[in-house]
Amino acid sequence: MAGLTFLGLMVKPGWEVVSQIKPLEPSPAPEGFSGKKWAMAVDLKKCWEAKEGCKDCILACHLVHNVPSIGSLKEEVKWIWTIEYGKAFPEHLHDFNRDEYRGRPVIVFCNQCDDPPCVKYCPTRATWKREDGIVMMDFHRCIGCRYCMAGCPYGSRSFNWRDPRPFIQKVNLEFPTRTKGVVEKCNFCEERLAKGLLPACVEACKEKALIFGDLNDPNSEMRRILMGRHILQRQPELGTKPKVYYMV
């Protein structure tokens, strides 16, 4: 019976070989990604100069990527959001922190780590690290096991607990929505980078508090900034090598 099944399964591939139907192959014409290493710097001082409750970056990101507004803490989906300073940098918290930091909102999103734990745990490789540094997400392959969410120490990933489409306030046709049952997170706007645009959050920030650039380019603004001020990262002792740098 096993033999017959095997023979049966070989019919289609066998027919394709015999009838010489060649499926067309896409031609490799890669965009210029090689050699780049994307990173983001967040200038908290500039961010805090904005008016109270500024959400420009969050709204821009969620609009461009059709991120649903579920409205409950239980099922919310968010690619970029703010948390309080003490929670963003718990290792920097002590009894005598400066008042200007205490309780202030810090923008957080996927750190696009260089040694991402989430990538290790995915059973289907639906998330992987691209050579330009972006930790990619393939919504076609995700089986929704949520192991990557268990791996991420920063809580950057969200799961679609129900069909997101009814909850999308304004649909962007340029980007697909997702189905229920898959995990999603910030992707450094890789589809915009492919068109030569900056990430949506960077473009939307009126204070110019978000800086995006190529770490491999010694002349980039990114590198210049990192040489300048004191940099904080979220929990670097975990060895994830995050690519988001915070300047206070």
Binding site: I21, P26, A29, F139
Partner: protein
Amino acid sequence: MTFFDGRKIIPGLLFFVGLVTYPIWYNTLSGKATSVPKLEIPKDKKECIEPKNIIRVHHKEILEDWRTSVVRNGMRVYQASNQKKYTMSLNRTCMECHKDKTKFCDRCHTYMGVTNKCWDCHLYPQELEKGAK
């Protein structure tokens, strides 16, 4: 030696055969079998990315290859057999011309009983106009 009760068995057999072959004779008589789905072809464009006979058969594989190429390999430019370059995108290339999937894609797919999950995530240009927010 058993007798068979012809009066009960033969009509029953005919009924069974009729039931089993229902799809064949119903579709032939009602004309559905010979009807070919009518696709709404874009009026202004003359050609697709590939010739009709190839794209008709291979569009599924082409789209799957595009998906792998764009999402997993980051490569977005497709060189067609007519040497023209196209962006590998369902929305930005295919749906740019075939704006409404219900008048194009669905026609054949419904006829053939083919289901695909593309539209669970991908939106088509006319979808917004139809009031899907």
